[in-house]
Symmetry: C2
Subunit: 255 residues, 2 copies
């Protein structure tokens, strides 16, 4: 890799954040964003304009354990020192886990071969206060076995139109996606985790899948209905969109 | 139990709360307290002055999964309806798990035969943002085996003077206490939980024990030093007081 003083370097960062007090990834005039907060800190240190790209443009309230972003710079610095300076400058709800120079052709979105999300749920009569900002509380009981059966119909390659929300400036050439793993994990003390791994998720797809599986868990839908919903390609036929604050971007996979 | 209209009833509540935005259990002019918030809601519903007693007067920032409190009332109400009214009136960082009429002689502190606390820690280079309000972050690595060996010296009945902080209006007749269980539980992803169960804890005793065990984990103290510290009865000989926000009152035990 060319490391002459003025050559461009492609810097890859892995971030973790508590999405509670952010207006999502994308810079906005409404309030603090992850993109805005991180680029401001980088620009203060590097004294140049920084253009960040993220693997996942997380919505307002969504958390991340392993968000991947990059930027191009010709500035000279020690990687470890830049990481330390960033972490001392950033607020404590946003941390840089790692910072490396990477392949010039690396792009966090287009180079990604898969993503893993964890969706956290609590259930029962009482919402646990210390989890209220990190898990969706479903009052009542959930039938995990039925949720698991429902989830099994979504595994593999399908047209996920029924689980994709519309958004301005968002045109998918097709809505065929592959889900490689979809597990319903029962945790201690009224907690449930939905773990989902796939090749490329569409807008609100994870949250729509979770909302539909919760309908199955509550008995509002039968497990086999998932197959009908998939075939219908009809968004209103599926369940509710699960709220943002239960969603945790867990990991992005690269070759 | 006498249930005539004007007889006094002893009402026992089990509470869970996120201590982050409270100034602790005790009512104070500094800001919102758990005692103040709960008594205000009860007084609004029952239309009488309510005097609450708690099993553990948790400090500012300490969380609870199973705090036990009581009050005496002669008012008439359905237990389940009072619980529902309270939970709809209370802020969502404070929830009533259960509400029952109990023995007239029951007192949350003096009737207790034991308490269990969980102390949550994270360790490593990066503090996980979504746990920053619920776990103490220790930068660096912890030697769990040495912490376990250190903990073993504290099990059983000892004079815990070295682990007890002074406070105005607090006079212990003696400082002999029994620790029945003290476990160092390694969790996933850089997390550690110290589980401690005993007959009666003194002021800041759990946090002083955790702070001292962390010193052992970091190599600042040797496991055998715990025995010397116990025998010294000298508070400054032990480790630092672990911060309040990692402490979770887990359960109170009664006969």
């Amino acid at each position: 890799m060319d490391s002459s003083p003025h050559s461009n370097k492609n810097i890859k960062l892995v971030l973790t954040y508590d999405g509670t007090s952010f207006f999502g990834w994308q810079e906005t005039k409404e309030g603090r964003s992850i993109e805005g907060t991180l680029s401001q800190a980088l620009e203060q240190i590097l004294q140049e304009k920084v253009n960040l790209q993220a693997a996942s443009r997380t919505d307002r309230g969504v958390h991340a354990l392993g968000q991947v972003v990059n930027f191009i710079t010709s500035k000279q610095f020690t990687l470890n020192e830049l990481k330390k300076s960033l972490n001392s400058l950033l607020p404590n709800d946003l941390r840089v886990i790692s910072l490396n120079e990477t392949d010039p052709l690396f792009h966090p979105t287009t180079s990604a071969i898969g993503k893993e999300y964890h969706y956290h749920l609590t259930y029962g009569e009482i919402q646990l206060p210390h989890l209220r900002l990190y898990a969706w509380h479903v009052p009542g009981q959930l039938n995990f076995e039925k949720m698991r059966e429902g989830a099994s119909y979504l595994l593999g390659t399908h047209d996920f139109s029924a689980f994709c929300n519309m958004r301005k400036n968002l045109n998918y050439t097709d809505k065929v996606r592959r889900i490689e793993e979809l597990e319903i994990l029962s945790m201690e003390e009224g907690k449930l985790k939905v773990m989902i791994r796939g090749n490329h998720f569409m807008y609100k797809m994870v949250r729509n899948i979770v909302g539909t599986l919760v309908y199955v868990g509550l008995g509002k839908l039968q497990p086999q209905d998932l197959l009908k919903i998939l075939h219908s390609k009809c968004r209103p036929c599926a369940g509710v969109t699960a709220p943002a604050h239960g969603l945790h971007l867990h990991q992005i996979f690269y070759k």
